[in-house]
């Protein structure tokens, strides 16, 4: 039983995480303190939530390139609303934010599930559309700190929204559709519903995150969350989610997010310029995907060898 745990990818990730923390602390002792860790957790909390959504989309063998834009549009919209109507109660703002995200995500979901357009194309398109709308809605201006009430800025820092795929039937069916679509049909899974859900949920999550982001950083701009697309995909891939769909775990994604968060934070600590972030993340995805593929192939070969011929 213990061996099973050892072989699991999540364990490797955990070890890697600990290893990284140790190395970085040795190099830069400022790293290892509570305030810093809280910062890391705060930074990554938002990413983790969106990554959960992306995780579900990747599970059905899709990809969502519009997450950053959804966050930005939802965030900008409610920020503006708050700016011009500060009398609207905060909880209404929260609901509204989620609702906006829900609609954006549903648009994606309907295009994918009912019209059968490949997710990459839909979200490539909506990425442009939603980002464009951020500009339209704001008229090119920013909403900055002094235009937000204190209540707005002090919204509780979100904890993780670990959607537990283990518990709900729809969650398992998402794995099914990603793993073998034809078989899912034979078994009677409602393909349309299952292809719609991940996008709708992701959208809703992004709606909430949009609000939290704007509240946390006390500003809303048209390039908010620009890197989210890449970061969420990177977190999933590093966390062991197969780009082909059908496999991956929530825990893995969380560890992936943490790993990326630690790396990012560490880079700042060691005074490496933020310009490295983009390139490094691209490299990480590439390496992670290559490692994933090679490992998969090895395991398959081992199984074939096991048939002792």
């Amino acid at each position: 039983m213990f061996e099973k745990v050892l072989k699991k990818r999540e364990f490797t990730l955990f070890v890697l995480l600990v290893f990284l923390i140790v190395i970085i602390s040795l190099r830069s002792p400022r790293f290892l303190n509570i305030a810093n860790f809280r910062d890391i957790l705060d930074d990554t909390a938002l990413l983790a939530m969106v990554a959960m959504g992306q995780f579900m989309v990747i599970l059905i063998a899709g990809i969502d390139l519009s997450v950053g834009a959804e966050v930005a549009l939802a965030g900008m919209s409610v920020a503006l609303l708050h700016q011009y109507h500060p009398e609207i109660p905060i909880f209404a703002i929260v609901l509204l934010s989620i609702l906006i995200g829900f609609s954006l995500g549903s648009f994606n979901g309907i295009l994918v599930s009912l019209l059968g357009i490949p997710p990459i194309i839909v979200t490539l398109g909506t990425m442009g559309i939603y980002r464009g709308f951020v500009f339209v809605v704001s008229g090119g201006t920013w909403v900055s700190a002094h235009e937000m009430s204190d209540a707005f800025k002090n919204l509780p820092r979100g904890g993780f929204l670990g959607v537990s795929n283990l518990l709900f039937r729809a969650g398992r069916e998402i794995y099914g559709v990603g793993g073998n679509e034809i078989a899912s049909q034979y078994v009677g899974i409602n393909l349309k519903k299952i292809k719609y859900l991940p996008f709708m949920l992701t959208g809703s999550i992004c709606g909430l995150v949009g609000l939290l982001w704007v509240a946390r950083y006390a500003s809303a701009q048209s390039d908010t969350a620009l890197g989210f697309n890449l970061q969420t995909i990177a977190a999933c891939v590093v966390g062991g989610v197969s780009i082909f769909g059908g496999s991956g775990t929530t825990l893995g994604v969380l560890l992936g997010v943490l790993l990326l968060g630690v790396i990012n934070n560490a880079l700042t600590q060691i005074n490496i310029s933020p310009f490295w972030q983009m390139g490094l993340q691209g490299l990480i995805i590439l390496v992670a995907v290559i490692i994933n593929t090679i490992m998969e192939r090895r395991t398959q070969e081992l199984i074939i060898r096991r048939r002792n011929l």
Binding site: L166, I303, I304
Partner: protein, 497 residues
């Protein structure tokens, strides 16, 4: 007469270009094991998909206990008490056995959460009942083909069903496992369930079925009690004409050895394959699914690489690293899956037929030569009697038989000396089958050497000069035409020699 559980009347199912079912009647009663018989392509699998709600009929009625019903989705048919074990492998490789069994109908606790405990219990109980030793938490991708099949059976049984449909359930099982399957079927019968058993293997039908219905070319042909009918009668219904008309074996004098393979191995797939092929010979390769026959041929043709062994063409040792090199040496391979591997459905006949030789036909090996292509297509298309309105017709609009002819034409146009045919008549209507066999005879007269992989005993016995039987990656036995018998071949193929 027991009550009729499920009845199908005048069922039709059309697809673009194909009439899969064209007027079928079928009845099944409780406690009955009913065999649905027909050659490949007769429409059996389509009927199953209609009964399980995967497809909807183009015309006709389905009646459940006398009342007309429609199965809009697999869910509806499952709730109506019908479950099926399909012919294709429909597992979720990354998920565990438990998940595979319950995908689509997870057991839920009151709040909508999944009840893992109960699902695990039920899976365990089913595994025990069937005396199968598989770890319920194992990932299905790590199981063997036969084990995956057993998971499929358990999946079907996990529903509360009155009717269990098994579509060619024994194709991947050993003799032992087949016996176990019969036990399960008898058990289901005792419980008052109905079993629809689909097969084209008559020995199985005789062993286990009470009643039979025969389909041919999508139409209902006849039915009856298994005990009363004679083999010949059933075969005649299946096939539509006598056996000797379908397998017109011509005796050709064999020439020297043109192809030889020695100790060919590929780790994990097959080992120590050695055989020879002579001019004018048809060498039959028989074996169960998973025995490694196609894998051997694909290595020979250069699609995959060998781990060990040698290949000789006309006495000379050769190295074949890809299909182009194989073609250069006069070796062609007609793949098993004509839609996935053999033909490109959305291209037309001319483009398909000339694909392997498109470079040779072109101007300066670069510019397409439509005239030259038409000429070649005309030559081989008419030799094989391909029925189409023009050579520009898309292959996907042709019938299965004509599609296979296009694939044949394509490889014949490469003027091979050695031709490997992998299940050349699978899923084709009977007249085309006969035509293909006749053509093979002609090729033999033209001094080609042919290797024919087939899973159909009559075909292997009827067409081969020599027979090689494979079992789990090794050669289990060899027979000459005179020595061979159905029983000997089956025994070797299931590992009993």
């Amino acid at each position: 007469m027991e009550q009729c559980l499920v009845e199908v009347r005048g069922i039709k199912k059309y697809f673009p270009g194909i009439k899969a079912l064209d007027g079928v009647d079928f009845k099944i009663r409780a406690g009955e094991v009913h065999a649905l018989i027909g050659e490949n392509g007769a429409g059996k699998s389509t009927l199953v998909k209609l009964l399980t709600g995967v497809y909807q009929p183009t015309d006709g009625k389905i009646l459940l206990r006398g009342k007309e019903v429609g199965f809009a989705s697999p869910h509806t048919s499952q709730r109506a008490g019908i479950a099926a074990i399909h012919q294709e492998v429909t597992v979720f490789p990354e998920l565990t056995v438990i998940e595979n069994v319950f995908m689509g109908h997870h057991i839920k606790k009151p709040m909508g959460l999944i009840d893992w405990g109960q699902m695990r219990e039920k899976t365990g109980a089913l595994l025990e009942k069937l005396e199968v030793d598989i770890d319920p938490d194992a990932r299905v991708k790590n199981l063997s083909v036969a084990e995956r099949h057993l998971v499929e059976i358990i999946k079907a049984l996990s529903f509360d069903v009155d009717v269990v449909i098994m579509d060619e359930p024994t194709s991947a099982l050993s003799l032992e496992e087949v016996k176990d399957l019969y036990q399960i079927i008898r058990q289901l019968k005792k419980e008052g369930k109905a079993v629809i058993f689909i097969s084209h293997k008559l020995d199985e039908v005789y062993e286990i079925a009470d009643y039979f219905t025969v389909l041919r070319d999508g139409k209902y042909i006849g039915e009856g009690l298994v005990k009363e009918a004679g083999v010949d009668k059933i075969v005649a219904m299946m096939v539509g004409r006598s056996l000797s008309q379908i397998f017109p074996k011509v005796d050709v004098e064999q020439g020297p050895t043109i192809f030889r393979v020695k100790n060919l191995s590929k780790t994990g797939l097959f080992k120590d394959i050695t055989f020879e092929l002579h001019e004018g010979e048809i060498l039959g390769f028989f074996g169960l699914v998973g025995s490694g026959r196609s894998e051997v041929m694909q290595v020979i043709f250069g699609i995959d690489q060998l781990s060990e062994g040698e290949i000789f063409i006309n006495g000379e040792k050769v190295l074949i690293r890809n299909p182009t090199e194989a073609l250069d040496k006069g070796l062609s391979y007609i793949p098993e899956d004509r839609q996935q591997q053999g033909a490109i459905l959305k291209m037309n006949i001319r483009e398909n037929v000339t694909l392997p030789i498109v470079n040779e036909l072109s101007h300066a090996r670069k510019f397409l030569n439509k005239k030259g292509e038409l000429k070649v297509t005309q030559e081989y298309g008419s030799r094989l009697d391909i029925k189409a309105s023009s050579w520009e017709q898309l292959v996907e609009t042709l019938s299965g038989g004509n599609q296979q002819k296009v694939v044949l034409a394509k490889w014949l146009a490469t003027k091979p000396k050695i031709l490997i045919l992998d299940e050349p008549t699978k899923g084709i209507d009977v007249p085309t089958k006969a035509a293909v066999h006749k053509f093979m005879g002609e090729l033999a007269k033209q001094r080609l050497g042919m290797i024919m992989i087939s899973s159909e005993l009559p075909e292997i016995l009827g067409m081969s000069d020599n027979i090689v039987v494979m079992h789990e990656g090794c050669i289990a036995a060899r027979f000459t035409r005179e020595e061979a018998s159905a029983e000997k071949i089956i025994k070797a193929a299931t590992g009993h020699i």
